[in-house]
């Protein structure tokens, strides 16, 4: 007999070491999330997966699953919070969906659509974030960065290259690349790297292949992210949680 906890009144089985979000997704129950990726150790930074437990709130991606927990997730209160968090991300960066080549394949956009986000709701920050087009095959458009650190984690834990890192703090926090010049062309990134595949938004893009899929056939045109995420859920981890390439 396996242990279970309750999510919105339904029993969710879990195995030892799983967090609430991991167990829920494995059991076919969706909790909205953004910085979580099934192949990596939960990060807990976007806070979109926040749930309510015993009158308190917690990020479900990092909350260890325990028998008997009673969790509320799909409530108007929690969904309103998630909407606001997504709005904050839209207000923080420069997101021009209609002209973005990630449109239709973007987790932030899909999440916004799923949660019913119609406007950013806050004043836009309009930050000045120059793009890095130095690399012959790869474009970095920092305007869309939501600071989920997935590229940082993938490059370090899977590729063992540590091409990306974060600098600054607070609202000035930003992605940097591992080169004295600060330019991607001077790093050892390759098109085949895991870091090329994990960006949930349109920061890390392969050049000369944009807009290849017509509107209506893109990833989230076919099915909303709430369904797509469940197919993606149970997967063996590729990230080790630490870097094999450096002392970090």
């Amino acid at each position: 007999m396996t242990d279970t906890f309750q999510l919105d009144g339904e029993d969710i089985p879990f195995s030892p070491g799983q967090t609430v979000l991991q167990a829920a997704l494995s059991a076919g129950h969706y909790i909205p999330h953004l910085c979580y990726h099934p192949e990596f150790k939960p990060h807990g930074s976007c806070k979109v997966c926040t749930i309510k437990i015993g009158g308190r709130t917690a990020a479900s991606c990092t909350l260890p699953a325990q028998a008997g927990l009673e969790i509320e997730s799909d409530t108007e209160e929690m969904n309103a919070l998630r909407r606001t968090l997504v709005q904050m991300l839209f207000a923080e960066g420069n997101h021009f969906c209609p002209s973005c080549e990630k449109s239709g394949n973007c987790a932030l956009q899909a999440l916004g659509a799923d949660l019913g986000v119609m406007t950013a709701g806050f004043r836009h920050f309009y930050p000045d974030r120059p793009v890095d087009a130095s690399h012959p095959d790869i474009l970095l458009d920092f305007n869309r960065c939501i600071l989920c650190e997935l590229c940082v984690r993938a490059s370090c834990e899977v590729d063992e290259k540590c091409v990306f890192a974060l600098s600054g703090r607070g609202i000035t926090k930003h992605l940097v690349v591992n080169a004295a010049s600060g330019q991607l062309v001077d790093t050892n990134i390759a098109l085949t790297d895991k870091a090329m595949q994990v960006c949930p938004v349109g920061v890390i893009l392969k050049k000369r292949v944009g807009f290849a899929v017509p509107i209506g056939e893109r990833r989230y045109d076919q099915r909303p992210i709430s369904q797509q995420a469940l197919d993606d859920a149970p997967r063996p981890a590729s990230g080790s949680g630490h870097c094999g390439g450096c002392e970090a």
Binding site: S45, K47, T57, A59, L85, M88, L89, A165, S167, I171
Partner: protein, 628 residues
């Protein structure tokens, strides 16, 4: 770029001193910058190679801490403390005055690369402000006369260590001493009491036979007896959260693992708090004794224990005196191996510096910083008592907590719990600043009323008191009978007094700027929310605020409370909401009656054009209601 080449041996010897240990990255960077005022790219390359770290990771650490720079900031970096108490004492005018004296613009390095002037978060000298840091060294009591002197020294290129010592003279300002500040313990007294308490014929025999740690149950009674006294005392953490110290020590003691750590949190960053500065100055011996007693207590059989004092960068001036105290304790066998003749009781303490990051006062962020990383609070569980420094069992306590623990170890838990109130045992140090005749340190038994403190410090016509700093609570005159204690007004010690001449909106706006500056940026709600709160407060201050903005503040508070990663985000809206609740007219008189007003300021957008053309006449401005 050439600097590292000119004296690469400085960096090499630093690396050697820190055993090429990447966990020492922050300490290496701090020490390196002291020799050259910024970290040049060649040094970053060399560090990356020697420490086997990606250079981007090193850049990320430099970029996180406000006192580290990867761009030149001038030979003289002059930072004005910008707490509200500094502002009330006129720091803004003084900053402008110094900028004019040095022919430079705030926030920009002078053309000749000589100096830069800017602001920094509270430096913990609120009782003798306005204050500044000159290349990291604290200078209190700023005045035009003192700034004239400083400007002369800068222009004459006199190195800061050669500036007249009286510029750096910092007073303790102890106004009321109780059991802690008036203690008469000598070095080692409390430790001897602890060892005597645990000493039974069995433990003596065990200690003589092998080591006390290897012995069986009877020998373990020593530490357990002390743990019992700490638990009996009901001592609760003095850093603000108030966790029961005895339970924390017990959990750490029971955690599996052979290596464990005792960490003292001296990252006193909460604006308006400076009691740790005074404890570190006057009670360092007692503090280190408390840490040693903690090591003795949490030391389960067969463990090694090591201590760290994490000293905020603003208290750089205390580093050498503290190291001297550690040296004298080593000489007296109160630190080191076989302390006081107890076979196998080995413990030593080293001091790590911070570099300007308030969030590192959060214990798990502090541990990340101790490990040489960006100070991002960790996901919890697991907690530091089981997975702290290097994922090993770690006890983190505040300076005042360790001092109190030493007193308890010597005089017993029952004695301590008889002082104070039922749920708040002992005394509390208050850092009193703001509008009062006698700012300074006041030690009271818990339960003292705010009114009593105001009377003692000579505060008149008080309008409000900010208890426990921006992350605490702001109370108005009708609440001055409330009491300091965990039952009512829990506090880490800040007690900032505002009289009736003060504008509480400006107080809250100063705090909103503080939180936005100090947010680590890890989680969405705090990173974006604190920046939004700051922008909204500025919008209201500029006369563009509406009822809509007040509602937005309430929405931000809800989001931050529900979803922020740590206490910084949870409390970031408190000063605004507290003052909005108690002093709403000061907000409303600034509002426009409209339901919504865009934040975009047309006239403000022309400021850059005005600067470029050198014009500031009426024709260069759009007509707005502000000018009317």
């Amino acid at each position: 770029m050439s600097q590292a080449n000119r004296n690469p041996d400085v960096l090499e010897s630093l690396l050697l001193r820190h055993q090429h240990n990447p966990n020492r990255l922050l300490q290496i960077l701090i020490a390196l910058q002291e020799t050259r005022s910024w970290i040049d790219p060649a040094s970053i390359d060399l560090l990356a190679e020697r420490l086997n770290l990606p250079r981007a990771r090193i850049e990320g650490v430099i970029g996180f801490y406000s006192f580290l720079h990867d761009k030149p900031v001038g030979q003289y970096r002059l930072l004005f403390s910008d707490n509200i108490t500094d502002r009330m004492l006129g720091n803004q005018d003084l900053l402008e005055y110094l900028c004019n004296k040095l022919w430079l613009e705030r926030g920009h390095v002078s053309e000749d690369g000589l100096a830069s002037v800017d602001t920094t978060s509270c430096t913990g000298l609120c009782d003798q402000g306005p204050a500044m840091l000159a290349n990291g060294w604290a200078i209190p009591n700023l005045s035009r006369e003192r700034l004239d002197r400083i400007a002369e020294l800068v222009l004459a290129k006199t190195p800061v260590p050669q500036w007249p010592p009286e510029l750096f003279a910092i007073a303790d300002n102890i106004r009321r001493a109780d059991i802690l500040l008036a203690n008469t313990l000598q070095s080692g007294d409390a430790l001897r009491a602890v060892i005597a308490r645990g000493s039974t014929p069995d433990t003596e025999a065990a200690a003589n036979a092998r080591s006390w740690r290897e012995a069986n149950l009877p020998a373990a009674l020593g530490p357990l007896a002390t743990l019992e006294e700490i638990k009996r005392s009901n001592l609760r953490g003095r850093g603000g959260a108030g966790f029961t110290t005895g339970l924390k020590w017990e959990a750490c003691r029971n955690a599996p693992g052979e290596q464990r750590y005792v960490v003292c949190n001296a990252d006193e960053g909460e604006p308006g708090t400076f009691k740790d500065r005074v404890l570190l100055t006057t009670q360092a011996d007692l503090l280190f004794e408390g840490m040693t007693i903690c090591a003795w207590t949490i030391n389960a059989s067969g463990c090694n224990t090591h201590g760290f004092l994490y000293l905020r960068g603003e208290y750089r001036h205390l580093l050498e005196p503290l190291n001297a105290v550690l040296e004298s304790r080593r000489a007296a066998n109160l630190l080191g191996n076989n302390i006081l003749g107890q076979a196998g009781f080995d413990f030593d303490i080293e001091i790590h510096l911070g570099a300007g990051a308030y969030v590192c006062g959060e214990e798990s962020a502090l541990i990340e910083s101790l490990e040489g990383k960006r100070g991002i609070p960790r996901n919890r569980p697991p907690y530091p008592v089981t997975h702290g420094y290097l994922q090993r069992p770690t006890t983190v306590n505040n300076v005042e907590t360790f001092c109190a623990a030493a007193l308890i170890a010597q005089q017993g838990g029952d004695w301590y719990r008889s002082i104070g109130t039922a749920k708040s045992a002992g005394t509390k140090l208050l850092s009193v600043s703001g509008d009062c005749a006698r700012p300074g340190i006041y030690e009271y038994p818990f339960g003292v009323t705010v009114r009593q403190v105001l009377e003692d410090c000579g505060a008149e016509n008080s309008l409000a008191v900010q208890i426990s700093g921006p992350s605490g609570v702001c109370i108005g005159a009708n609440e001055f009978d409330r009491r300091i204690g965990f039952e009512d007004l829990a506090t880490a010690g800040a007690f900032m007094v505002f009289d009736e001449s003060r504008d509480m909106f400006e107080v809250a706006r100063n705090f909103a700027h503080f939180f936005a500056h100090e947010s680590c940026g890890f989680c969405t709600p705090c990173r974006v929310g604190t920046a939004m709160l700051k922008a909204t407060m500025d919008k209201i201050a500029a006369g563009h605020g509406t009822q809509y903005d007040l509602r937005e503040i309430e929405q931000l508070d809800r989001v931050l409370n529900q979803s922020a990663h740590c206490g910084l985000g949870h409390t970031a809206c408190n000063p605004t909401l507290d003052t909005l609740k108690r002093f709403r007219p000061t907000y409303e008189r600034r509002l426009k009656s409209l339901d919504f007003e865009p934040a975009f300021d047309l006239d403000g957008a022309l400021a850059a054009a005005r600067r470029m053309t050198g014009r500031d006449d009426a024709g260069a401005h759009l007509k707005t209601e502000l000018q009317a």
